[in-house]
Structures are given as structure tokens and as C-alpha cells.
């Protein structure tokens, strides 16, 4: 018969919960808008630890990596350009 793995409980769960709480505390510091020097250090550390090697980085994507942006004048001209599907009275 196949054996099943047990979900965490008891002291193992307590250990995991403490670890998760520590991770959460770090996440809070990393997510602070007004960062202290320690927050900035932690942010750099987490960034380094979580950034995959380029070959393993499945999130790379040509649309995202192109850093597509718009010019404010271009958007202004676009908005005031000819409506295509609308009723002139609107």
C-alpha cells in the first residue's frame, strides 16, 4: 500500500509557524513605503535571494521586458483624436 505523507502538526507546525511569522515580518519591512536603512538592506537581500538565474527565469517576456511606455502628448492627441465607434452627439 502507498504511504501518505503527514501534514505538519505539533512542534513541527510550531516551528513552521515561527518561520512563517519571521518571513512575514521581513515582508512587512520590504513593503514599507518609508524604509529605514535596515529595511533597504533587507530589501536588497531578499531581491538577491529570490532573483532566479536568467536561464531559469520563466517570467521573462518580450512585452514585459520592453518596458513599454507612452508619451504624454501622444496620449493627449490620442484622446482628442477622432472617435471611431461613437455617436457625434456624445
Amino acid at each position: 500500500m502507498t504511504e501518505r505523507r503527514q501534514s505538519l502538526r505539533g512542534t513541527a507546525l510550531e516551528r513552521f509557524t515561527r518561520k512563517a511569522a519571521l518571513q512575514m515580518a521581513i515582508a512587512r519591512r520590504v513593503s514599507r513605503k518609508k524604509k529605514t536603512p535596515l529595511d533597504r538592506l533587507l530589501t536588497r537581500l531578499i531581491d538577491r535571494l529570490t532573483r532566479p538565474a536568467p536561464a531559469d527565469d520563466f517570467m521573462r517576456d518580450e512585452v514585459v521586458d520592453a518596458a513599454i511606455g507612452f508619451d504624454a502628448d501622444e496620449l493627449r492627441r490620442y484622446r482628442t483624436g477622432s472617435p471611431r465607434g461613437s455617436n457625434p452627439s456624445g
Binding site: 501518505r4 532566479p52 517576456d61 514585459v64 455617436n87
Partner: protein, 724 residues
């Protein structure tokens, strides 16, 4: 003069995933949307967010309130002031209520505005006395939440980062669809987690899976019964958890005995050995997760299938444990939207009038009544509108009341950020329903097919133009902040402003004391000892401390206090207390194919974004996926226009030959119309292309308990045509 750019933290609402992003603002315009630099949020961005600034600058965007002149749907509009529009709306709604009662108002909301009203829409309705609120979440996540609550009192969220096995029922997260879920699954796989995919199509996720089961469309419930048969027979379940924390296990065991693997293999079309291997992998490799999937939400056996997924989680002991499925519940320091909605203000007599609750009660007030006391006991509040899905009217029943006045007339219909005509089954009925209204108000960005049938189109703001406190749809306990990056253009306003204004005009002003949405957010955040402006200046995200196995202290929020494998609520409502499999009716003659509806295309969310040139250029036409062998049989080439028909209706689509499709199955995209067509006769192409026309909602094609339509495995046929 060009100024230096300023960056704002925003939460994207171009789909419902709510990625936290950065908006770069220059000269009063958002000129770039980019990924957040926070390493925990990095990469959670997709093309819909990136191109959003272009969409919000579209020349056709509705910038001023418009009032219909001439016949409904004739496409003639007059610009009016907000004050005039709201004054007339209040006056006409008052007349409808005086003549037909408050239940004669129905409201449909979704996507970009859902949850940005912070519960004020339901609050208004509860004050007025109408229970008839509908939403796309009736067939997408909201209904799943309601069914999960019946089993164990909350809708759990998968702990994918710590899991060892992931099961995707037809779900296919990709780089540009459900991006954070895709990111999490790929990372978990890199760390050794197994992936099981159940999908008729060899999807991108199936290609990466350790085990792919190409099940027949719409057979999720049967597959789960087969897995349980294996898991119970081989005693692979968590016996301690089952003994201490479940009720109805013996009854369930007897029920699943009727579903031996051979029978399930016949129903699902899968190899019996593969079914056994998958069940064993799920039960022994754990903790495992079955993330939410829209596919299971939209089937004839949806209630049973969702319950069975919840049952699998429970009997294997994966509930509220690391790497399993977490009960996040309310953030302890944030007033939830459920409180703002004030469901206690709607009296029992009006709740009883909620449309559809007599025949399909699961996600209605009637269906969730028995959860009020347990929810208060465990989660501290009587009402928990998780994913907005716990107190809804049934959409089909609502449209029938609107169209035919049965069981009573609904004569006013408000549609906020929701292209209702295309968003539910049976578009023919929905159009008839809307045309039969005394008052139709649409709050929108564009003149959608639904807006074209309105009396008033009110200009809505966008997620780059409003502040937002994102509370995870009442499902997750993380709260995130979104800053207003730029002012709304023209006279665009938020949904909060709409409801507040109407409430004051209708005499409910005392219940809407907030001057603006920031004041409401400040009230919700008062426990932090700071107002919205202080909170948003200091927090991007706030998550309470993690806790697991919380049920050991408080039990489960069900009538028995345990996981109800046999549902006391469903039995009290007159349904089978155990999950089951219900066979499809025989396909009518002349419909030899099957249809899988609801492909999510990377470029679009639901019926949106087709007006954004860069996205439309990537996918200019609606496509039906066809296996090459079927294409040969029907004389189709790549790009041939075809009519795909069910007994209910027909749509015109372009054939895309895909060898990842199984033979005999067609896959149709959701929500197509062509915003560039100014053609009231075709409702901008909706009458030609919108899949809602081929979705029936009669009894054979509705789930019994929820009344949601069957979108996976409808009988269909196709015919090549000359013209688009």
C-alpha cells in the same frame, strides 16, 4: 513643459487578480505601468496592465453623463450634467419602487468596479429593500466560495509556495493570465512540487505537468468521485482528521463506492490507471492544493464538483495547514466590506424575495441563512460575503423577472462596470429583459453593447484614477493600497460616488456619512490608529501574522462545527446531502460535436480591452479552436470563418487549427464584440460574435443547487461560411 515623472503604487483592475504595480506619471498622464520593485511582487504584471493607459485614453471613452434620446438602442444620446442625470435617476427609481416595490430594482456589477464601491452598492440596496444583486461571480469564484462555506465555513486559498502537489482542473494560468498564480506554480515546480492537470486540451499547463488527464469536458465531479474511491479504498486519507473533524464520512464512503475507477474512466474518457495514479499522487505527495478554477464553476454538476474538491482537501488533511489550503478569513484590523454592506438592514421578508432562491438557493440569502450563527461563532461576524458570492440572486431568474414579470416584475436595472448582456448565459433573454425596463443605468468606460441599451450612461473612473483599499475580495486577509495616480478625465466618477449621491437623493444620507471614499477607507482602517492618507503613505500591503489549524480552537463555521462531508444545509434545502454525478441529456440530432466555452485570451479580460489597438492587433478576431482532423472533416482551413451553433443559438468565429485540442471538441472564447463598429443593429458585433448567445439556461443545462449554466461540454455543430 515636460515635468519629472512621479511614481505611484497602484493595484491593477484590468482583470480580477489585482497585481500591485507602479504607475509612472508625467504631465498629468500615466505614461508607463510597470512591475513593482518590491522583490515579493516582482514580475506580477501582464500586458493588460501595461497597455491600460492607452485604453483609458481612448477617444471613444465616455467622459460625460449621457441620456438616451429616441428609441432604446437606437444610438442617440444627449450630454447631461451629473446633477440632472442623478436627479432623474432618483425620481424614476422612486416611481418604480412605488409601483412595484423595492425588489423591482436589480443590480449587476463585475470586474473593474467590483469591490471598489467598498460595499456601498449592497448597502444602498439593503436600505432600499432589494435583494436582487447579480454578478459574474455567480459563475466565477463567488459561487465556489458559497459552496466551500457549506462544507467547512470558509473558502480556503492554496498555499502554493509551500505545497508539494498542485492539481489544476482545467485551469491554465499563464504569463499573461492569472499571472501571480502562474508565477507561484512555476516556482513551486522548480522547488519540486508535482503538477497534475485535468484538461481535455493539452494546455500549456498540461505540457508542464507530471500527470495530464485529458478528461471529457464537464466531468470534474465524476473524476473527483473516482479519486475519492481510490483514496478511501486504499485508506490514503487522514484518519485522525476525518475522525475528529468531519461528519458524514461513512455516508460519503458508501456514495463513492458507486464510482469505481472503471465507471469513472468510462464517464471521463481517461485511462483508469492514470486516474488511480493521480489520486494516489494527490493523497500521498501532500500537502497538496486544488486551486480555484473557473472551469469547475460552470458545469451541470458544479455544486457537487466544488464540494468534492473541498472533500478531497478535507479527508486528506490539507485544510488550514502549511502547503495546503489556508483559511485566511477577515483581516483582524480592517472593517470588511461585508460590514459596510449591512445585510442586517434587509428584513427577512425582502430577503425571501431574492430571485432564484426558491429553486437554486446555494449562493442566496436562503442558502446561506444557516451559516450566520456559525460564522459569527468562528469568524466574529454574521455575514461574510466571500468573493461577493454569498448573498446573490440567481442571474437567469433575475433576467426572467425583468423580461416576463415572473414571479414579480423587475423594472429598473443598474449595471456598473459590467457588460451584462454578454456576461451571463442566454443573451437573447437578457436583451429582452433589458428592453423591458423602465430605467436602465450603466456606469462604464465605453459604450458597450449593454450601455447601448441604457437610458443613462454614466462615465466611470479607472483604477489609475481612484484610490483603492484592496481587501482581497473578502477572501484573503492581506490588504493593499492603491493611490490615485491621476485625476479622472472629463466628468468620470467612481462607483462609490454614484451610490453615495443616489443614497442622499433617496433619503438614506444618514447611512452614507462619508464625504468621499477616502473617508470610508479611514473608517475601515481606524484600528490602525491612522487615516487613509497616513496608511497609504506608509503601507503598500499589510498582512496579519500567519496562523494554522485554527479550527482546533474554534471549530469550523458550519452548523455542526465540523467539515460537513454530508451537508446538513443542502439536505435542509431539499437537495442530496452527498455529492453525486448527473449524466448529460442525450445530444440532439445534428449536433455531433461538443463545445467548451470560456477561453481566457491573454489580451482580454472578459468583454474588455478589445478597443486597445496594441492588444487588438495581437488578436484581431474571435477564434474557435478546432482539431485538424475535425477541420478536414468540415472542410476548414486556418482562418476559415465558421458558424458555431448549439440548439440555443449561433456565433461566427474564425477557425484556429490546434492539435492540442481533442477531436470532437470546439473551444470558444468569451465575451467578443467589436467596439469599433458603430452599429446599433448588431450591438457593435455582439449579435454576431458573443458566446452568450449559444449558452442555454434551461434546466438540462443548469446546475441544480446553484442554478449556474453548463459551459463545458455543450452539444454543438459548425458550418463553414463565406463572410465574416
Amino acid at each position: 513643459m515636460t515635468t519629472s515623472p512621479v511614481e505611484k503604487t497602484v493595484v491593477c483592475a484590468s482583470c480580477d487578480i489585482a497585481c500591485q504595480l507602479r504607475a509612472e506619471v508625467r504631465d498629468g498622464w500615466v505614461v508607463r505601468v510597470k512591475a513593482h520593485p518590491n522583490p515579493l511582487l516582482r514580475d506580477n504584471i501582464c500586458m493588460k496592465g501595461i497597455y491600460a493607459p492607452k485604453g483609458f485614453a481612448h477617444p471613444d471613452r465616455v467622459l460625460h453623463p449621457l441620456r438616451r434620446v429616441g428609441e432604446r438602442g437606437a444610438g442617440r444620446w444627449q450630454r447631461v450634467s451629473w446633477d440632472d442625470a442623478m436627479g432623474e435617476i432618483a425620481e424614476r427609481l422612486t416611481r418604480v419602487v412605488a409601483e412595484h416595490g423595492p425588489e423591482a430594482l436589480a443590480v449587476s456589477t463585475s470586474q473593474w468596479n467590483t469591490s471598489t464601491d467598498s460595499g456601498t452598492g449592497r448597502r444602498f440596496m439593503n436600505l432600499l429593500g432589494s435583494p436582487n444583486w447579480i454578478s459574474g461571480v455567480a459563475l466565477c469564484a463567488g459561487n465556489t466560495a458559497a459552496v466551500n462555506r457549506m462544507v467547512y465555513g470558509w473558502f480556503p486559498f492554496p498555499d502554493i509556495p509551500n505545497t508539494r502537489c498542485i492539481v489544476l482542473f482545467g485551469h491554465n494560468p499563464r504569463r499573461h493570465s492569472w499571472t501571480p498564480v502562474y508565477n507561484a506554480i512555476r516556482k513551486a515546480q522548480q522547488q519540486g512540487a508535482k503538477l497534475i492537470v485535468l484538461d481535455p486540451r493539452r494546455s500549456e499547463s498540461a505540457e508542464r505537468a507530471d500527470l495530464w488527464l485529458p478528461l471529457r469536458a464537464g466531468t470534474d465531479a465524476a473524476m473527483c468521485l473516482g479519486w475519492l474511491n481510490v483514496i478511501l479504498r486504499e485508506r490514503l486519507y487522514d484518519a485522525d482528521f476525518v475522525r475528529d473533524w468531519t461528519v458524514g464520512f461513512d455516508d460519503l464512503a458508501r456514495r463513492v463506492e458507486s464510482y469505481p475507477v472503471e465507471r469513472v474512466a468510462t464517464i471521463t474518457g481517461c485511462d483508469p490507471d492514470a486516474i488511480v495514479r493521480a489520486a494516489r499522487l494527490y493523497a500521498t505527495e501532500g500537502p497538496s492544493v486544488i486551486p480555484w478554477t473557473p472551469v469547475t464553476d460552470q458545469q451541470r454538476n458544479s455544486t457537487s464538483a466544488i464540494r468534492l474538491q473541498a472533500t478531497l482537501r478535507a479527508v486528506c488533511g490539507y485544510v488550514d495547514v502549511p502547503g495546503g489550503e489556508l483559511f485566511q478569513a477577515f483581516h483582524p484590523d480592517v472593517v470588511p466590506e461585508s460590514d459596510i454592506e449591512a445585510h442586517h438592514l434587509l428584513d427577512a421578508a425582502q430577503k425571501a424575495k431574492q430571485l432564484g432562491s426558491d429553486r437554486h438557493p446555494v449562493f442566496t440569502y436562503r442558502g446561506t441563512e444557516a451559516l450566520r450563527a456559525p460564522t459569527r461563532r468562528v469568524w466574529g461576524r454574521e455575514y461574510a460575503n466571500v468573493v461577493m458570492g454569498s448573498y446573490m440572486a440567481n442571474p437567469s431568474a433575475t433576467f426572467r423577472a425583468m423580461a416576463d414579470g415572473v414571479p414579480y416584475p423587475v423594472k429598473a436595472f443598474f449595471v456598473l462596470g459590467n457588460n451584462a448582456l454578454l456576461s451571463y448565459a442566454n443573451m437573447q433573454l437578457i436583451e429582452r429583459a433589458i428592453r423591458n425596463q423602465d430605467l436602465v443605468v450603466v456606469h462604464e468606460h465605453m459604450r458597450t453593447p449593454t450601455a447601448q441599451l441604457a437610458d443613462f450612461i454614466l462615465p466611470g473612473d479607472s483604477w489609475l484614477e481612484r484610490p483603492h483599499l484592496m481587501d482581497g475580495y473578502g477572501w484573503l486577509n492581506a490588504v493593499r493600497t492603491s493611490e490615485r495616480a491621476v485625476a479622472p478625465p472629463g466628468e468620470c466618477r467612481g462607483v462609490f460616488d454614484f451610490w453615495r449621491d443616489l443614497a442622499h437623493r433617496m433619503g438614506f444620507g444618514a447611512h452614507f456619512p462619508w464625504h468621499d471614499v477616502e473617508e470610508l477607507y479611514s473608517e475601515r482602517l481606524a484600528a490602525f490608529g491612522m487615516d487613509w492618507h497616513e496608511f497609504v503613505a506608509t503601507h503598500e500591503i499589510h498582512v496579519p501574522a500567519p496562523a494554522f489549524r485554527k479550527y482546533e480552537q474554534s471549530g469550523f463555521a458550519t452548523p455542526s462545527g465540523k467539515v460537513e462531508l454530508r451537508s446538513s444545509i443542502l439536505e435542509d434545502l431539499g437537495f442530496d446531502g452527498l455529492p453525486y454525478w448527473r449524466e448529460a441529456p442525450p445530444a440532439p440530432a445534428g449536433y455531433p460535436l461538443e463545445l467548451f466555452m470560456g477561453v481566457r485570451e491573454d489580451e482580454y479580460f472578459q468583454t474588455g480591452q478589445r478597443f486597445i489597438p496594441e492588444l487588438r492587433a495581437r488578436r484581431p478576431e474571435p477564434q474557435v479552436y478546432v482539431h485538424p482532423a475535425d477541420a478536414r472533416r468540415y472542410g476548414l482551413d486556418e482562418g476559415t470563418w465558421v458558424d458555431v451553433a448549439t440548439p440555443h443559438g449561433s456565433v461566427r468565429l474564425k477557425a484556429a487549427l490546434r492539435d492540442d485540442m481533442p477531436e470532437g471538441l470546439l473551444r470558444v472564447p468569451h465575451g467578443w464584440w467589436k467596439p469599433e463598429l458603430n452599429d446599433p443593429a448588431s450591438l457593435s458585433g455582439a449579435r454576431l460574435h458573443a458566446d452568450a448567445q449559444i449558452c442555454p439556461d434551461d434546466d438540462d443545462y443548469l446546475d441544480r443547487e446553484q442554478g449556474v449554466p453548463h459551459f463545458k461540454g455543450l452539444p454543438a455543430r459548425l458550418v463553414a461560411v463565406e463572410q465574416p
